[in-house]
């Protein structure tokens, strides 16, 4: 009751202030123009399909490449040091660089080399760049998952004679992936929105189309329409992620693990 009342009052006051602002009529004309909204929305939605394609394809590639990076970083022992170093350098590098810079440098730079056989398609570069950048983040999520699998699981697998890679593949990674699905989805909410960045290398997707329509009508309403499209698509995904996290927490509290591992400190990582 109190929550409902306070919410109504709060938003009521907010709307009152905005609607009575001196610039409200001009604002309405520039941002909330009904006819322009009706005109631009179908065009925007049709271009949004490009973002969706980009997002879906990139997601598959990121899941695979990110996992590869995480597994490389988690391989113990001196033999794998060069691979670990390489993967670590990669992840550091791509997390350090602003995504928009990578998109501009690779998306414009590589085609400029005019190497025979290298594709010129902007969509291709958009896909590659998003994969490169996001894999660095996603690999860290995977790695957190891999680290969260208790070393005693590896010990049990190795004691059966499984190799390091078999242990990763059959025992550690399957458990790790289950645990990190919610944070992975969280990263994909970010990816979904960052698909607009590739408009800077000439991919005509929803944001590029928004700019075109806005320039043609001297009006900002298309931006509002585009914002609406993202909100409608992203919020359900965010809710779904929260639901998964809550379910996961419920499961953990219900207690899958029964054994107090008083010995756990002795199960040091496998050398």
């Amino acid at each position: 009751m109190i929550a409902t009342a306070s919410t109504v009052v709060f938003f009521g006051v907010l709307v009152f202030i905005v609607v009575n602002a001196p610039g409200w009529p001009r604002f309405q004309e520039a941002f909330l123009n009904g006819p322009i909204f009706g005109d631009s929305l179908p065009k925007l939605v049709s271009k949004f399909w490009v973002n969706v394609q980009l997002f879906l394809m990139a997601e598959v590639l990121i899941l695979l490449f990110g996992l590869l990076l995480a597994v490389l970083r988690s391989l113990p022992g001196p033999v794998f040091f060069p691979l670990r170093l390489l993967a670590t350098a990669y992840v550091d590098m791509f997390r350090a660089l602003p995504g928009i810079l990578v998109i501009l440098m690779l998306g414009l730079g590589i085609p400029a080399l005019r190497i025979e056989g290298v594709p010129k398609d902007e969509f291709f570069y958009a896909l590659v760049v998003l994969t490169l950048v996001y894999s660095a983040y996603v690999s860290e999520v995977y790695r957190a998952g891999i680290d969260s699998v208790h070393p005693s699981q590896s010990a049990a697998a190795r004691s059966l004679g499984l190799t390091q890679l078999q242990t990763m593949r059959y025992v550690v990674v399957p458990q790790a992936v289950r645990r990190v699905i919610p944070p992975l989805l969280n990263d994909f909410i970010g990816l979904q929105k960052d698909t607009v960045l590739v408009s800077y290398i000439g991919v005509v997707e929803i944001f590029r189309e928004t700019q075109i329509l806005s320039a043609a009508t001297f009006n900002f309403t298309p931006y509002v329409a585009t914002a609406l499209v993202f909100v409608v698509v992203t919020i359900p995904l965010a809710r779904f992620t929260d639901w998964l996290i809550a379910r996961e927490r419920g499961r953990r509290n219900a207690g899958g693990v029964r054994v107090p591992s008083r010995r756990s400190r002795m199960f040091g990582r496998l050398a």
Partner: protein, 248 residues
């Protein structure tokens, strides 16, 4: 008789902490060794070293005449021959019981799935767990989980089975079912090294009891003599504490 397992001059430290300080132990085939001693005396570490889960600092470990700690020996190949069962079971929670058991035979020995499963079912039946084959580990009681863990180790048909305080994490009423499994294995001639706090059990099934103290085997002998008439003061002290706790 040739030794099924021979540990010679084994040293192991974790950083500054010296855990094993010159262990010598020969185990002949079909022998059951009970390792007793206080927590921190090195029992678990010794078993983990024999399974090559821990690299050793000095000494040799020989299994059926083959030095497994020699340079260039593939640890994965040795681990197939040495089974280990842990205190905390360490079953794979994302796999059904049957898959837990067949993972090793399928992936390490490359046997066909059907044969592995038939083998696994036979083992589960032998230990009264046949109806649990399709369950996930978290549906099982601690005692059942530990019996599955033993079956998982047996499925690799190891030469030697190492048991690391396998009843210490169990509720008291579940201890017997696990001990019965081990008793049956001992009766079947399985060569075993058992780290345990169950002194009564050690007296029943061990061929020899070894008392570990501060990283060394201080005293060893037949269970009756070791548990009732130990020679070393440290052993007597340890056993007195066990008796005070009502565990012997």
């Amino acid at each position: 008789m040739t030794a099924a397992l021979s540990v010679q001059g084994l040293y192991k430290s974790f950083g500054e902490l010296e855990v094993l300080r010159g262990i010598d132990l020969d185990v002949v085939e079909h022998e059951v060794i009970a390792l007793i001693g206080a927590s921190g005396s090195g029992k678990s570490t010794l078993l983990r070293c024999i399974n090559l889960l821990e690299p050793i600092d000095a000494g040799r470990i020989v299994i059926h005449g083959e030095e497994i700690t020699a340079k260039g020996v593939k640890a994965d190949r040795i681990r197939r021959r040495v089974g280990i069962v842990f205190q905390a079971f360490n079953l794979f929670p994302h796999m059904r019981v049957i898959d837990n058991i067949t993972l090793g035979p399928r992936k390490v020995l490359s046997q066909p799935r059907a044969a592995c499963e038939a083998e696994a079912i036979a083992l589960l039946e032998r230990f009264g767990l046949a109806d649990k084959a399709s369950d996930y580990p978290d549906r099982l009681s601690g005692g059942q989980q530990q019996r599955v863990a033993i079956v998982r180790a047996l499925a690799m048909q190891p030469d030697v089975l190492l048991l690391d305080e396998v009843t210490s994490a169990l509720d008291p009423e579940l201890v017997a079912e696990v001990l019965n499994v081990i008793r049956e294995l001992a009766g079947g001639g399985m060569t075993m090294v058992i780290a345990t706090h169950e002194m009564g059990f050690a007296r029943d099934i061990a061929s020899r009891v070894c008392f570990l103290d501060d990283g060394r085997i201080l005293e060893q002998g037949p269970p009756a003599q070791m548990l009732s008439d130990p020679q070393q003061p440290r052993t007597r002290q340890f056993l007195n504490r066990i008796i005070e706790a009502g565990r012997l």
